[in-house]
């Protein structure tokens, strides 16, 4: 399973980067969303899937999975939500002001370059 997951992460990253390198703002935002999913799965995969129970104490269970990657990912999920929301608003404000969502046209006008 871990091998497969490694490839899944790689695939997610690949698609994310491909989208981020595009010209349209919306695609870039979706790319960042994919990137964070990929990163979360990557952290989980790099840890281990060993253990048969969630990391919650209960009677008779000692075989927990590693809780640390989960804690890191939990933080990352919330942060990436904030960041995605921020970029989203940035993008649509930029679209409103500049009337374009094309990155190559947003470089700035003649007088501020």
């Amino acid at each position: 399973m871990e091998i497969v997951m490694a490839f899944v992460c790689g695939f997610l990253f690949m698609a994310a980067i491909y989208l981020i390198l595009s010209r349209s703002l919306l695609r870039i935002i979706i790319g960042t969303g994919l990137l964070s999913h990929g990163a979360h799965l990557l952290i989980l995969t790099m840890g281990s899937f060993k253990g048969s129970a969630p990391p919650v104490l209960s009677d008779g269970v000692t075989d927990f999975v590693d809780p640390l990657p989960q804690a890191l990912i939990l933080t990352a999920i919330v942060i990436s939500f904030g960041v995605t929301a921020f970029i989203l608003v940035l993008a649509y404000r930029a679209y409103h002001e500049l009337k374009t969502d094309d990155m190559t046209l947003m470089k700035g006008s003649e007088d501020n370059e």
Binding site: A6, G10, Y18, S22, S58, V65, F86
Partner: protein, 803 residues
């Protein structure tokens, strides 16, 4: 403790200056500033009795103890002398500036903040025993000098001069930092005192010479030695109080201080003696020679400062010879270091007063061009007297202090010929000759300065302002300094016992154990006609002759090729090499396209990581304990892949948003499978809210267009994405396959109930073990929220009004 804090008092006082400037506008801000240097002078004066006995006072305030970096205030003869000069001249300069800078027209708070910042930095430089803090303050002097030169920042020349001085002095400072680091590696300490105590061992180190040269570069750039002096004439664009303070009396002497301070470490090296003496004498000659080419009063003084700094530098170099001579206390080599310190004090007095006079002339007549000036003697008698005293002292005439130190300077350079190490006995004979010629030129430009300004037929009606004598307050400072010039001639030995001998002891600590042992008695007349006196007579005769015929031979300066100057070299390096060529070079890849930069970065990261993985043989595939693949997992993966592909190729907005949501929900299912209930829960809710958010913003977002892309970039884009994907896969595989150290989680698992009183380990990690992460995370989240709020609510209308 308080001793260390005193270094920072000017900086603390600077905090209040904007307040005084804005709120107490009827009183010139300078009066408030004046309190600071006066306090400092009186505070440092308290140390004189202790220090003049040869003792030193040290106080320390730890800054970064783990790296051995601390603020140290080390007051011995040398640093106390400098501290008194900085605060004393500082007080006079502030007093002078009160009348020089108009309260209503100038941004006084800026000026005084810079000035106080400089004062703090300079005190720090001379008192720091720790090389790292010394460097810190050293660069702070460069920065405050930059700000002060560029104080009239609407003038092109000011900005040019400011930048030039900063470029050169900061570059030198960097070199010096390199030298400091090398020294600290050799001696395993940042403390200069400790380095001095292990000086003999240091000299055998291979890096010794490198450190020596680097530190000298720092000193030479700061003290405007050849060929780095070019910044000093351009620095004259600063307000005159600044020129008097920074660029003659204090900052440019920081290099001299550095050389003096490190003499005990480096004097054993012949390179040190050759470089310091040679460059010093060359600068002395060069500066004095080109001073006569100048037309600007402050330009003349700038070149004269360069030349005088060279003089002191060469004396410090000769002083280092004393380390190579047995029983140096008995020989004439002992004079050099003494003369260096003595001349340093003298120069501060006479050059300070001359700068102030130049400022007065500028202020009262509206010009500093010496060709337009003349005949001011009868209009400005007090200024003339002060200028005369200062110039005669500079020319080395009695009865002024410059005469005494010049005599000692001649003694010192003559002594070189008697030194038979390092080829000095053959080449050394050049040194007195150069010194003598330079002294002749010094004599001429001193006379040129004073007599071409104040005597002769002046076209007084053609001056921009109608000249009159400066106000009383403006004259106070130059008159005090001129008074010192005369006083020092008559009481040199008192000054010597109090200040110079303790300072000499700091420069030559191995030779003397107490200042009393320095057996030097300064006298104007030695009872017989000495060689030095004959040389001075020659200087006066030849100097007078050349001065009177100046207009006939001044043309020779135009013979020098105007293109091959050091200034042009500087312009070439800064403007052609850096600005134009470097700009063109970086223009090749800095196209302004963010996507391009991003692909450069991502591409190089993945190539570097993949290459490192294989070169270090770090790639592993080991899946002994891997969990089995189940059929529902395969289905989930297929869903995930389909969702991902859909986001990439979606043609409409809604499809891509929904596809992204699909990926997110699938990921949360993965979390469930991998025993992460907290994650699954969070991911589910987040995904829901995110989709809601996307849909809310939906109407504001543009439609997706088919992207027209050049095939070249499209190809590169695909390549970069594949590379990143490959890198991630490889890293994930290797990271999983080798666990070099056991996971810290074991500790969490064991202690979660006993120490943290919780059962859900993930949550306990978040709120307890790694609470800091969470604290910063919610801070980031809040910032994002406020930023979004600001972007939408707080925007300006088209007309620029707040909505």
């Amino acid at each position: 403790m308080f001793q260390v804090l005193c270094i920072f008092i000017p900086l603390l006082a600077a905090l209040f200056m904007p307040f005084f400037f804005k709120k107490v506008s009827t009183i010139h801000t300078g009066w408030f500033v004046l309190v600071v240097p006066i306090f400092l002078v009186s505070y440092y004066a308290l140390f004189i009795p202790t220090v003049s006995k040869g003792d030193s006072v040290i106080a320390q305030l730890d800054w970064i103890p783990s790296l051995g970096i601390s603020f140290v205030s080390y007051l011995d003869g040398l640093s106390l002398l400098f501290s008194l000069l900085i605060s004393g001249i500082g007080a006079l300069v502030v007093l002078y500036s009160i009348f020089y800078l108009d309260r209503t027209k100038e941004q006084l708070h800026n000026f005084y903040i810079y000035l106080l910042m400089f004062m703090c930095a300079m005190l720090g430089v001379v008192q720091s025993d720790n090389m790292m803090t010394l460097y810190l303050f050293w660069e702070l002097t460069s920065i405050s000098s930059f700000l002060l030169i560029g104080y009239w920042n609407n003038r092109d020349k000011s900005r040019f001069g400011a930048l030039k001085s900063m470029m050169i002095t900061v570059a030198g400072g960097m070199m010096m930092l390199g030298g400091f680091v090398l020294l600290s590696i050799m001696g395993d300490t940042f403390s200069i005192r400790e380095l001095i105590s292990q000086a003999p061992e240091l000299s055998t180190n291979d890096l010794f010479v490198v450190a020596l040269v680097l530190i000298l570069l720092g000193a030479f750039t700061k003290s405007a030695q050849f060929p780095f002096y070019i910044w000093l004439p351009d620095a004259m664009e600063a307000p005159t109080p600044v020129s008097a303070y920074l660029h003659s009396a204090t900052m440019v002497k920081a290099g001299l201080y550095l050389v003096a301070r490190f003499t005990p470490i480096f004097a054993v090296s012949e390179i040190w003696i050759w470089l310091v003496t040679g460059i010093g004498l060359l600068t002395l000659f060069w500066g004095s020679f080109f001073a006569l080419k100048q037309r600007d009063l402050k330009g003349i003084l700038a070149f004269s400062t360069v030349s005088q700094l060279g003089l002191i530098m060469s004396l410090l170099g000769v002083g280092a010879i004393a380390f190579h001579v047995d029983g140096a206390q008995e020989t004439i080599f002992k004079y050099a270091a003494f003369a260096a310190i003595f001349h340093l004090i003298n120069h501060a007095t006479f050059k300070g007063s001359l700068f102030m006079i130049a400022g007065i002339v500028d202020h009262e007549t509206g010009t500093r061009d010496i060709r337009k000036l003349g005949g001011l003697m009868s209009i400005m008698p007090v200024s003339f007297t002060v200028a005369l005293i200062g110039s005669f002292s500079m020319a080395g005439l009695p009865p002024f202090n410059g005469f005494l130190s010049k005599e000692m300077f001649l003694t010192a350079v003559l002594s070189i010929t008697e030194f038979d190490l390092f080829n000095f006995s053959t080449w050394g004979v050049l040194f007195p000759i150069i010194a003598w010629i330079a002294s002749v030129f010094t004599f001429i430009y001193s006379f040129y300065f004073v007599f071409h300004t104040f005597t002769g037929k002046g076209k007084i009606d053609q001056l921009p302002h109608k000249p009159h004598e400066a106000p009383m307050g403006m004259l106070v400072s130059p008159v005090i300094l001129a008074g010192l010039v005369v006083a020092l001639f008559f009481i040199p030995n008192m000054i010597a016992d109090t200040f110079i001998k303790p300072a000499v002891m700091a420069v030559q600590p191995f030779l003397y154990s107490s200042p009393d042992q320095i057996d030097i008695h300064v006298a104007a007349w030695h009872g017989h006609i000495t060689t030095e006196l004959k040389m001075t007579a020659g200087i006066i005769v030849l100097g007078l002759a050349l001065f009177l015929t100046l207009s006939r031979w001044q043309k020779i300066y135009s013979l020098f090729p105007s293109k091959l100057t050091l200034n042009n070299l500087y312009d070439f390096i800064i403007y052609d090499l850096f600005d134009r060529w470097a700009g063109r070079l970086s223009g090749l890849y800095m196209t302004g396209s963010i996507r391009r930069y991003l692909s450069y970065m991502l591409g190089s990261i993945s190539i570097i990581v993949i290459a490192t993985l294989f070169m270090q043989d770090a790639f592993r595939m080991n899946f002994d304990g891997a969990s089995p693949i189940r059929i529902y997992q395969v289905i989930l993966i297929i869903v995930l892949v389909i969702g991902t592909i859909t986001t990439v190729f979606a043609k409409s907005r809604i499809t891509s948003i929904v596809a992204l949501g699909l990926v997110g929900y699938t990921v949360s299912l993965f979390f469930i499978m991998f025993n992460a209930p907290d994650l699954a829960l969070t991911q589910l809710v987040i995904e829901t809210i995110s989709v809601a958010l996307f849909l809310l913003a939906f109407y504001h977002l543009p439609k997706l267009k088919k992207e027209k892309e050049r095939t070249q970039f499209r190809f590169g884009r695909a390549f970069v994405s594949i590379a990143v994907g490959a890198m991630v896969t490889l890293v994930a595989l290797s990271a999983h396959s080798q666990k070099l150290i056991p996971s810290i989680s074991e500790y969490y698992k064991e202690t979660v109930y006993s120490l943290a009183g919780g059962g859900n380990i993930v949550n306990v990690i978040l709120v307890d073990y790694r609470g800091f992460d969470t604290l910063f995370e919610i801070a980031v989240l809040s910032i994002a929220g406020i930023a979004i709020f600001g972007m939408i609510k707080l925007r300006l209308s088209k007309k620029g009004e707040k909505l």
